[in-house]
Subunit: 410 residues, 2 copies
């Protein structure tokens, strides 16, 4: 068996993965930017609003003219015009006057506050009564009050959500620089693996891993490409790996569940030029034989051969790595919503291994019950029956029935 | 002002939204199916595995031959061959014999269990010692044990995750029927609104809402199309709405923050033929004037005019509706990961209105602190500064500083 480096903890692996550099930046339309991460600070080129605007439907006034107004003794103001949406106000508010203004309307000159229509009474076409005083700048959004020209608008690293798109659009920014999506080569290896479209011959199985890993890569916002299946042949493997490292940012390998086949893949990997093995053996279950490497800044992830282990290692380490490469902080995997629940049964766990237990959730009157999924660990159907993963820390000996645990929904 | 229907609760609105029908199904490749929802039950066309397979590296044996074996008294077996990956085993295991088998290898005839290599010792090229007994079918995944031919594989309504893709691929299913993505027309209305690319003239503002709502629609897995901005003109509005209802599944309107402009839009909407108003006025803050309607099964959502209110109503109701149309259960919005934290300051809340408070999270040694975002509610920048929304139920009078609250991350 080839050199098996020391087994490292999942935390140590995460530290090493943080050594990768983010993808290079690219400039894209704000309409394509949802879920991407800013690669630079964005400064506002304009004030927002560009002129003072009313935040209510009402009357633009001089605040002073409403001083002391009440229901029993309303202030009487002359109605001298109205502000139209989409037009520059053409009237000036004089002392003792009021100009009708809609929400969002630009404050006319002379006015320094807006009275809400609810606190006014229109007597006729030329007069209104105001039954409540307003303070200076009341119901007015001042020039630059929302966003100031030249001020930081959004920081580098910020994930773009609908509100960031709105903010950028509001100040006229139509393109942003974000980190490029990682391009990921997904390679399945093994003499027994056939394309999904084919009927497996005797002793053969279909390439389930390639498709599930590619789906996970896509769900992480990266761009998967499934390369042709590679047989267990040293020169074919080396050629494929070298080629993939040249054209992709991340190379993910799966297949080779037997020691002999993994040995061959690991052997070819470790003898690539410029390869640095970051981890070969991680203190986790399942997934211990996972291998992580780097070559000229490109990431190589050799998933364990068992389809279930492969998918779990992909959820726990590959998904956070892809998000990291493309701008996020390196988060602790698996990623997903966290739900607390009561464990339905006691479980033994091995000290020294971080374990990922497939669980089903049952919601009942008492709350959420967490049930480990039954079935042999090599069964793919157990993953489909799982709502999430329960992470049992390495230093934990076991969990007791009734204990509150946290589950990450997949 | 046009007829303002009775204000309904957010729960009542959700009940009414559940009356919409899901999108029609379409057949797509499993490689494009991540995040989509199955529109039919899927039955497995094959057994998985198709023949019994070993789940470990070891030796295929007759379990009976290992009975009583121990380290001090190992069982001696003849090594009569080996199983190669990707090939049908060509040997038969006789009594007293063992055949080497890799993980995933197909069990040769005659064998009924596999001994793990760790419990064996290879004496020479023809003999091995077994130091631990195995039970019948030990380390074997039997034909159909993972998935049985003709058995339910995945239920209708299931969201497709990487593991579902893997399971489908494993049994040779390359296409699935899922609900179509909703096609959503996003329409901004208002004389003052100009395209983002243009420099607003006096009194004008850019169409921030259209872009942020389209981004949210895309993030929900639906397909947004931004139609040209419509001025405040009755016939232009009616023509646009009728046209949009003909070509899209959902029509989302924004703009018109003033009462007058909203009146015009609502007036045109309510006079469309075949229109059914589901809600005009919802007991929420912000967002009370939101309107929801249905026309020939198509959904119409008229967002409030304030950009912040528009985005919040979109997060709370439009996002769950889009997920629902496209296969999910109708969830309580806003959607997103939920985080518990301690409220930093006391807050008043109005009984009878469900309130959505923009909050920032601060993580420190004591846990998560939840801070309401300061700034006028009409400021778009407050949404970008918010990490999430705190939902204050309608029946709550206020929240106290130090109280534990749940925040939905946006």
């Amino acid at each position: 068996m080839t050199e098996f480096l020391e087994v490292i903890s999942s935390d140590e692996l995460r530290r090493r993965l943080e050594g990768f550099c983010r993808m290079s930046p690219e400039s894209i339309s704000i309409d394509d930017a949802i879920g991407r991460y800013l690669a630079e600070d964005v400064v506002s080129p304009e004030d927002l609003p560009e002129q003072p605007r009313s935040t209510v439907d009402g009357y633009a006034v001089k605040a002073n003219d409403t001083f002391g107004a009440s229901e029993s003794l309303p202030a009487l103001l002359r109605l001298t015009g109205s502000v139209e949406m989409g037009k520059q106000p053409d009237t000036t508010v004089q002392t003792g006057a009021a100009v009708q203004i809609p929400t969002g309307g630009f404050l006319p000159a002379g006015a320094d506050a807006v009275v809400m229509v609810e606190y006014t009474d229109r007597l006729d076409s030329t007069q209104i009564e105001v039954s409540k005083p307003v303070t200076l700048r009341a119901n007015v959004l001042d020039q630059g009050e929302d966003i100031r020209k030249g001020a930081p608008l959004l920081p580098s690293g910020r994930r773009i959500r609908p509100q960031e798109v709105g903010l950028l659009a509001a100040v006229g920014i139509t393109k942003v620089r974000v980190f490029r999506r990682p391009r990921v080569a997904v390679i399945s290896t093994g003499d027994e693996i056939v394309e999904v479209e084919r009927k497996p011959g005797p002793g053969q199985i279909r390439d389930a891993n390639g498709h599930s890993v590619a789906a996970l890569v896509r769900a992480c916002g990266a761009e998967p490409t499934c390369l042709p299946i590679v047989p267990d042949d040293e020169s074919a493997l080396r050629h494929t790996f070298e080629n993939a490292l040249e054209h992709y940012d991340v190379v993910v390998l799966s297949g080779g569940s037997s020691v002999g086949m993994r040995d061959l893949v690991v052997d070819v990997l470790t003898r690539l030029t410029n390869i640095e093995i970051l981890a070969h053996g991680v203190a986790i279950r399942p997934g211990k034989p996972a291998l992580f490497g780097r070559s000229n800044g490109k990431a190589i992830v050799d998933l364990p051969g068992h389809p279930v282990s492969a998918l779990i290692v992909a959820q726990v380490f590959l998904a956070p790595l892809l998000h990291f490469l493309h701008g996020a902080a390196l988060e602790r995997g698996p990623l997903g919503q966290r739900v607390a629940g009561r464990l339905s049964t006691s479980m033994h766990s091995t000290i020294g291994l971080e374990e990922y237990v497939r669980v089903r959730l049952e919601r009942n009157a008492a709350g959420v019950e967490v049930h480990p999924v039954f079935g042999k660990s090599s069964m793919l159907s157990t993953m489909a029956r799982a709502d999430g993963l329960l992470v049992v820390p390495a230093e934990t000996e076991g969990l007791s029935a009734g204990q509150t645990v946290e589950v990450v929904l997949l």
